[in-house]
């Protein structure tokens, strides 16, 4: 898989260079080349550290990101590619990460985008209910900039604009799971510690194509959307034993939901909810597969004075077959509460004409007793250069909870970026 990705990557890079080389003459068809060079390091600061392997550095990431865009003369066809050339000082590897490569075809009421692309929707701040597109949680945990939380999907993305109502239909033939700590550099909870793990992905067949739909428009003063999804659990994956081996697999999932967002009480209010239908375990008996769930979010964000913004969210995840989940759970396994309550707070203060930013993000669960805290200071040295220093701190009363499992990954990170 990695090989295939690399060769695609090389092809893209060669393509980028060719396009750039060929398009020197100026004119309506301009090829824009942009990107950045970035160094991003993070070091483990948790009290208890994993001894195997003993590494303390979570990131030693230095990369060049190149982005090329070109449009046809009419502007109706657009090509875009973005690739990161990465040197990872922690394991000494050089890698190519093709972040996005797509074509966009536009007409008066229709846009079609084909290729690898990042797709984002929903109204939560780091809380995703109806956005089931692939995410790299390891990037967030280890201290990479937020943009690396979202991964590209190899997809067809069709957008219809029908006046007051718009619709977006996404087909993802090639399933990509979320990236979670693998126990090597970043640690996390595993139900079967010490066993070799095998991954089984959904077969690449037509019936395995993920489909996602968003219908959206205005309802009064609010942006409103309805969502539907049929595909697989990107995270958490299903886990079961096969002899001595642990098997990680991605059970069937369907999600139906809605969201609203708009100006209210001098701020912005956000509402989102979704019903998670665990298609491969509809009655909730299988402990290896997530229960059916209801997820709901309410958020409020407001500017206080000239440079201070405060946002708070309440988010709940409720299992719908909790009794059967408890009965099916092997005796030694820690049971989760039926409803996980979550509260988040984000405070952002800008200084000195927005050249400096101090922010704090806190996410805690009062009933599962775990937390995630992310303070960050960011300073722009010029229009091109910024540097950020921050920390990711996790903890909880138990090592099996959502954030408690990442306790040993507490880190301090630094990022410096020069954009061009």
């Amino acid at each position: 898989m990695k090989l295939a990705c690399d060769s695609l990557g090389r092809a893209v890079v060669v393509g980028i260079l060719l396009i750039t080389a060929v398009t020197q003459p100026a004119g309506a068809q301009e090829t824009a080349l942009h990107g950045f060079v970035q160094a991003n390091y993070s070091v483990r600061v948790s009290k208890t550290r994993p001894t195997d392997p003993p590494g303390d550095f979570l990131l030693g990431d230095q990369r060049l990101e190149l982005e090329v865009a070109r449009a046809s003369e009419s502007g109706r066809v657009r090509a875009y590619a973005k690739a990161d050339f990465i040197h990872d000082a922690v394991d000494g590897d050089a890698r190519l990460d093709v972040r996005e490569v797509f074509l966009t075809l536009t007409s008066s009421r229709l846009d079609v985008r084909l290729g690898r692309q990042v797709i984002t929707w929903g109204v939560g701040d780091l809380v995703f209910i109806n956005d089931v597109f692939p995410k790299d949680w390891t990037a967030l945990i280890a201290g990479q900039p937020l943009q690396y939380l979202k991964r590209g999907s190899d997809a067809a993305n069709v957008n219809l604009y029908l006046g007051p109502i718009s619709a977006q239909i996404v087909a993802i033939p090639f399933f990509e799971p979320d990236l979670l700590p693998d126990g090597i550099r970043l640690t996390g909870f595993t139900p079967f510690p010490g066993r070799p793990t095998r991954e089984v992905r959904p077969a690449q067949r037509i019936e395995g194509t993920e489909l996602a739909l968003r219908v959206y428009g205005r309802v009064g003063r609010f942006d409103a959307a309805a969502y539907a999804f049929r595909g697989f659990w990107g995270s958490p994956p299903g886990m079961e034993l096969d002899g001595d081996e642990a098997v990680r697999f991605y059970p069937g999932l369907a999600v139906y939901g809605a969201s609203m967002q708009g100006a209210f009480a001098q701020g912005i209010v956000s509402l989102e909810a979704g019903f998670y239908d665990s298609r491969d375990d509809p009655d909730g008996r299988d402990p290896a597969i997530e229960n059916r769930q209801l997820r709901a979010l309410v958020g409020y964000q407001r500017a206080l004075g000239d440079n201070l913004t405060v946002g708070a969210q309440y988010y709940a995840e409720r299992m719908l077959d909790h009794e059967r989940y408890r009965l099916g759970l092997p005796p030694s396994f820690p049971a989760r509460a039926q409803t996980r309550h979550n509260a988040t707070l984000r405070v952002t203060r800008l200084f000195n004409y927005q050249t400096s930013q101090v922010s704090l993000f806190v996410w805690g669960s009062p009933n599962e007793e775990d937390y995630y805290v992310n303070p960050e200071v960011r300073h722009s040295l010029s229009d091109e250069v910024w540097i950020a220093v921050g920390a990711n701190l996790f903890g909880g009363s138990r090592a099996s909870t959502f954030f408690g499992q990442f306790d040993r990954n507490d880190n301090v990170y630094v990022t410096a970026r020069y954009s061009f």
Binding site: H34, S166, Q261, A263, I268, D306, G311, S380, E384, S419
Partner: protein
């Protein structure tokens, strides 16, 4: 809508009306309404390339280079769309405002790196626009009713006769200033100078219109400066390629174009 059609009828008609108006001695609130109309809502729509230089005490410059599209609906309702060309860190970001008189505006930003459209909360009267010396209110206009306006005197700025209007926030209305003086040109209704005084009556910011050109019949401030007197910081703004009444459609001001900026206007 009727007001807009009158305005669109062209500069000559407007000038004719104005000479009548001037002699009739307008009430100060009416002068402010006309000024805002001329300054921030000329034509039915507008496209401009805008460069802002943010210059600090040490003379160090930062740049904000954007294309702005504006469409006017019924009086006081406007839609703005902005696309940032530079600096590299915010390039391809888009920003949209639906402005309403008398209530909170709707604002969206699109962050291209994560393909995220989100609403943003801002305090119109205080929040800085993209780190400049301008507030959101300065960019799209503060509701006239939020201040009490008084005609203090008449005085020329650079040889142009002006009304000098004092604006004081009504009790309860949010504002970064305690008092504002505006020099409104009698001929074009454009503000040629503004002084913002803080709550302790100290001069805080000074706006100057440094160059005015008539484009498509509309006198337009092509170069302007906002100085923060206390912090010795200033923002110099240049408008280029200004066009009025190009036929921007309502559909342009929607999520579709936040995500996929309209190529024909963003060049």
């Amino acid at each position: 809508m009727n007001t807009k059609i009158t305005t669109a009828a062209g500069g000559l008609a407007l000038l004719a009306t104005m000479s009548v108006v001037t002699s009739a001695q307008e009430p100060p609130t009416q002068i402010m309404v006309r000024s805002q109309e001329a300054f921030l809502a000329a034509g039915n729509d507008m496209v401009a390339r805008i460069t802002m230089k943010l210059i600090n005490k040490a003379g160090k410059e930062r740049l904000r280079d954007l294309t702005m599209l504006r469409r006017d609906l019924e009086i006081g309702n406007q839609k703005y769309f902005m696309y940032f060309h530079q600096p590299a860190d915010v390039r391809a970001m888009t920003f949209m405002v639906w402005k309403y008189p008398g209530r909170d505006d709707d604002r969206w930003v699109f962050v291209p790196a994560i393909k995220l459209v989100r609403r943003i909360a801002a305090d119109d009267s205080r929040s800085s626009f993209v780190g400049s010396d301008f507030t959101y209110d300065d960019i799209s206009g503060r509701d006239i009713e939020l201040d009490r306006h008084t005609l203090l005197k008449e005085e020329a700025v650079g040889g142009t006769p002006c009304y000098v209007i004092e604006s004081v926030p009504t009790s309860g209305s949010a504002s970064e200033y305690g008092r504002k003086l505006s020099w409104i040109a009698k001929d074009s209704w454009l503000p040629l100078k503004e002084e913002y005084y803080d709550r302790r009556a100290q001069l805080a910011r000074v706006f100057t219109a440094d160059e005015v050109q008539t484009i498509g019949g509309h006198p337009t401030v092509m170069r302007r400066t906002m100085r923060d007197v206390k912090r010795a910081h200033r923002t110099e703004v240049a408008f280029e390629s200004v066009r009025y009444d190009v036929g921007l459609t309502e559909a342009l001001f929607a999520e579709r174009y936040l995500r996929e900026p309209p190529a024909e206007w963003i060049r």
